[in-house]
């Protein structure tokens, strides 16, 4: 089984970034050239950018009518300059909502790692891009860091809400985004691991309880939650804060908690918010 720790050691020994270790690994495993892999990732980044733009201006509503328009509200609020959490965080919130709303409204997104959690990673990376000078190449490499950590998450635990609850979807997305943000901000390979561990720990135990079984409530807003936690964890790691529990062990824990979680709290709409009086009423009205 793969371990993120092995990649950190390799990166430290060679004096390279974690993304370069992951890119090299994928060149070998997929038997494709660096140029091809970078181009494929570039296609992903372009769709991410488009989905942020579409969501921020979008006035569409989801099929159920529950979701839509909140990204635009947050964006216009932050443009007035009164956001409590500042430019970068509020920018990440509006972008995360934007992409998740585009998804709920049948627009085009990149699953990252899933459709339900597609807003976290683009929100974090593009919010960092707005606040400091980063090149397109650095953004693409940060996506390799995110995806590499995602591979570890998928192999050691799960990235499916039906298997591991929301911690496996938004939690994984937050850990991936935290690691990517650290690399983008110039942090060390070890700091990407600490950021991922801190983000994942903040999400452990979160259940998947969508109202009516739809990828709308609470999924869209939880994308904003994931983006905030990713940026918080990245900032802590960049400041030199270490995670007491190493990232691979945190990931294994997420997998174990997912197994212990009741089925009613894993994307079945039979527990949690889905069975609140309002949740039941929404389900009855629409379905």
């Amino acid at each position: 089984m793969r371990a993120y720790e092995a990649w950190i050691i390799e990166a430290e020994n060679k004096g390279i970034k974690i993304s370069e270790v992951i890119l090299q690994n994928q060149i070998e495993e997929l038997e494709q050239s660096e140029q091809v892999l970078i181009e494929r990732m570039s296609t992903n980044l372009n769709v991410m950018r488009e989905s942020v733009q579409a969501g921020l201006v979008g006035k569409r509503r989801s099929l159920s009518g529950l979701v839509g328009g909140d990204a635009a509200k947050v964006e216009s609020y932050r443009e007035k300059g009164g956001s409590l959490v500042g430019e970068v965080m509020s920018g990440a919130i509006s972008k995360a909502l934007a992409v998740a709303e585009v998804n709920a409204c049948m627009g085009k997104i990149v699953a990252a790692p899933t459709a339900g959690s597609c807003g976290v990673l683009p929100a974090v990376l593009l919010a960092v891009e707005e606040s400091r000078q980063v090149s397109e190449r650095e953004l693409l490499m940060a996506l390799f860091t995110a995806a590499g950590l995602g591979m570890i998450l998928a192999e050691r635990a799960s990235v499916s809400g039906a298997e591991g609850g929301c911690q496996a979807e938004i939690g994984s997305a937050a850990a991936m985004a935290a690691a990517a943000a650290v690399e983008l901000a110039g942090g060390s390979p070890r700091q990407t691991a600490d950021a991922a561990a801190i983000a994942m720990k903040s999400m452990l135990g979160l259940v998947c309880d969508p109202v009516g079984g739809l990828v709308e409530v609470p999924c869209v807003k939880r994308n904003a939650t994931g983006a905030m936690i990713a940026l918080m964890a990245a900032d802590m790691a960049l400041a030199g804060v270490r995670s007491a529990i190493p990232v691979d062990e945190v990931i294994d824990t997420m997998g174990e908690i997912g197994k212990q979680m009741s089925c009613s709290l894993k994307e079945t709409a039979q527990g949690g918010l889905a069975v609140t009086p309002t949740g039941r009423r929404i389900q009855a009205d629409f379905l």
């Binding site: 992903n44 699953a111 379905l287």
Partner: protein, 222 residues
């Protein structure tokens, strides 16, 4: 989950909201279309389990029709699939139903092609956009659409399987997986072969000329 790559974790690029209920549903429609082997003009679609219960909110109905029209999961026209179906002359109906002991995200297609052909397909969306075709015309199959696939309807007598595999040997086509099922002893049988190489039209023609072969169909991977 087994070994993955970076594009399993970042991707697919798809129209939302759900990899299983939307992207997977499009792929089920595409597979049904490929199995029909021609432009569908009439389709009855039965949604089972979670597809029936939450399909409306996930656009599962739109996605299934989009797939029947040959659209991919990232096609921005998916929400307009019913309108496009009318323009393209595809008459379809959707309803909920019980398909028995199958995966909760399952669907049954009853399709008629422009050339008059007819096929019944049952498939499931088993997570993350991955699909599995479970039944073709009443025969149990297991087709994920990740390999070139050969579906052969034949008579259940000794030697039929051997002559098919011999022909594939000659054509240098390697079999990755194989499944044989039948209605009853000596009656009609179905062979499904997943191969490492593409099955060219010339090979398909030769297969069709073999004795005791009633139908042979090559399905390109998704």
């Amino acid at each position: 989950m087994g070994k993955s790559n970076v594009f399993d974790l970042l991707g697919p690029i798809m129209v939302g909201p759900s990899s299983s209920h939307t992207a997977g549903a499009v792929r089920l429609g595409i597979m049904a279309r490929k199995i029909l082997g021609d432009e569908p003009v009439r389709g009855t679609i039965v949604l089972h389990g979670s597809f029936a219960k939450t399909g409306k909110g996930h656009g599962t109905d739109l996605a299934l029709v989009a797939g029947l029209l040959g659209m991919n999961p990232d096609d921005a026209r998916i929400p307009d699939a019913p309108k496009i179906a009318i323009e393209r002359g595809l008459n379809f109906s959707l309803k909920g139903g019980d398909l028995g002991d199958v995966h909760p995200n399952s669907v049954k297609f009853d399709l008629v092609a422009k050339n008059g052909g007819h096929v019944q397909v049952i498939g499931s969306s088993i997570g993350g956009g991955t699909i599995l075709i479970r039944e073709i015309n009443g025969f149990q199959v297991e087709i994920k659409g990740d390999y070139p696939t050969l579906v052969i309807l034949h008579q259940d007598i000794p030697g039929v399987v051997a002559q098919v595999t011999l022909l594939l040997t000659t054509a240098q086509i390697n079999i990755a997986r194989m499944l044989v099922s039948r209605e009853k002893r000596g009656a009609q049988a179905l062979m499904v072969l997943e191969t490492d190489q593409r099955i060219e039209e010339a090979v398909l023609d030769l297969l069709r000329k073999l004795p005791r072969i009633n139908q042979a169909l090559a399905i390109e991977p998704l």
